[in-house]
């Protein structure tokens, strides 16, 4: 293996965490803001980063952050979790998933317990690993839990495409892909909406570009700023949003130019649209959002696990107390849920927003925002 260069260590990460830049950006936000604004970061990774670095507590009181539905683990419908569990429990299958899906509670159990009980459930880092597993186990069915936003779609599309090209037939996917722009439309169309500006998720935009957001900014008169994940990126995105709001502008701007271009990643977009087609999709806790998902195109129906396995009559039962749907829309904060921190904790999650490390409930729990007081900044 090539030895790492000394200067390669955390290049393009450390520079965007420099305290003096963070301080200066915070000062600039404080100087710019004159009125209260509610701004939503769409992506769960950004929610987590704001809290991990304590940035939310350093913002002026006028800037209220609400946390969006951009955690794929959180919005994957319970029904699909139950379907995954049913498939993973079959003795003839190897069920592959990203690690964070294993502890998400289904109606009765979770994938982790299926694994503990002897099910062949494997955590993969890249979807392409499933291809290798399928070729090594030709007498078994390999099923991949293909969830995620636009960021994850290129990898999942490549898995299907490669399996198709190479004639690997013992592989299929349980698909629940979701897309950001229809979710923004749903949030802004909701009668209770308070969100006045958005930080768009940088890595979603790395794939899709940001031209799709331009009609939304225009139609709903909201600024949308493409934002990265390091402290300097997050604050720069916020500053640009606040500047627009204070000036009465509503444009799409890019605060993550080192990674994102307006047109996005063309080769990735091409393969996504070759393999997937748009569809209506149910979001856990929110409901069906029109045109908000991707499913396999009919040409790739052979790779659809829902067609390959008898799992259509699954009945699901959501927790009656969980208000994660309202939290995912920015309408409520976790401490407003009666179960938060008592009946529902990361060790015993009742809802998906508590189980995923990117879920808002989990982030509030982990960083000690147990009540309104502790969440207040001053």
């Amino acid at each position: 293996m090539t030895p790492p260069e000394a200067d390669a260590t955390l290049r393009y990460i450390d520079e965007f965490r420099r305290p003096e830049l963070v301080r200066r950006l915070l000062d600039e936000i404080r100087r710019t803001v004159t009125r209260p604004w509610t701004i939503m970061e769409i992506c769960g990774g950004q929610t987590h980063a704001f809290m991990r670095f304590g940035l939310d507590e350093l913002l002026p009181d006028e800037v209220e952050l609400v946390h969006g539905p951009g955690c794929p683990v959180c919005v994957t419908p319970l029904e699909l979790i139950d379907k995954a569990i049913a498939i993973a429990s079959r003795p003839d299958t190897i069920f592959c998933s990203f690690g964070d899906m294993l502890r998400v509670p289904g109606s009765h159990t979770d994938l982790f317990r299926v694994k503990a009980a002897g099910g062949d459930v494997r955590i993969v880092y890249s979807p392409l690993e499933c291809l290798k597993i399928a070729r090594e186990n030709p007498d078994r069915e390999v099923v991949f839990f293909a969830i995620g936003f636009e960021t994850t779609a290129p990898g999942n599309a490549m898995l299907v495409w490669q399996a198709h090209e190479l004639g690997v037939t013992n592989i299929s996917m349980l698909v629940s892909h979701v897309r950001v722009p229809p979710a923004i439309t749903a949030i802004l169309s909701s009668p209770g909406n308070r969100v006045r500006g958005f930080l768009a998720a940088g890595h979603v935009c790395a794939i899709m570009g940001y031209w799709e957001y331009e009609p939304l900014a225009e139609r709903f008169q909201v600024p949308i700023v493409v934002t990265g994940f390091e402290p300097v990126d997050l604050l720069r995105g916020l500053l640009m949003t606040v500047r627009q709001l204070e000036a009465g502008r509503h444009e799409v701007e890019n605060a993550y130019g080192r990674t994102v271009s307006r047109e996005g990643n063309r080769p990735a977009q091409e393969l996504i649209s070759r393999v997937f087609e748009p569809c209506d999709r149910a979001w856990r806790g929110i409901g069906v959002i029109p045109n908000s998902g991707w499913r396999l195109r009919p040409e790739f129906a052979d790779f659809d696990a829902e067609k390959r396995f008898p799992i259509s009559d699954i009945q699901t039962q959501e927790s009656a107390v969980c208000i994660s749907g309202l939290i995912l829309q920015g309408l409520k904060k976790p401490y407003e849920c009666p179960a938060f921190g008592t009946a529902c904790t990361p060790a015993h999650p009742l809802g998906a927003t508590m189980v995923s490390s990117e879920g808002t409930c989990a982030a509030y729990y982990r960083y000690g925002k147990r009540n309104r007081q502790q969440n207040a900044r001053n």
């Binding site: 393009y12 200066r24 969830i147 990898g155 720069r236 080192r258 994102v260």
Partner: protein
């Protein structure tokens, strides 16, 4: 889930007729699919998500951003209005 990490491409090869590579994340080297960043050369930085490079890092743009922020510090309270 949408975590993406910058790393430096140290090797490029082909497997099953798609472009793959090895990417160095500060000493940890991981195999990565480079099919979506076909113009990438060894030495380039890419943003990697779940085993796939999703973008080639625009190093000139990164330096420009940092220079601009540095300038903002220098301007201090006089304050430039040009973060955008």
């Amino acid at each position: 889930m949408c975590l993406g990490i910058p790393g430096r491409v140290v090797e490029i090869f082909e497997r099953d007729s798609i472009q793959m590579g090895k990417v160095d994340f500060g000493g940890i080297i991981k195999e990565t699919c480079l099919a979506y960043v076909p113009e990438t050369a060894v030495g380039d930085y890419v943003i990697v998500h779940a085993g796939f490079a999703i973008s080639r890092l625009n190093e000139a743009e990164a330096q420009e951003t940092l220079a601009m922020l540095q300038e903002m510090i220098a301007l201090g309270e006089e304050s430039g209005d040009d973060t955008a």
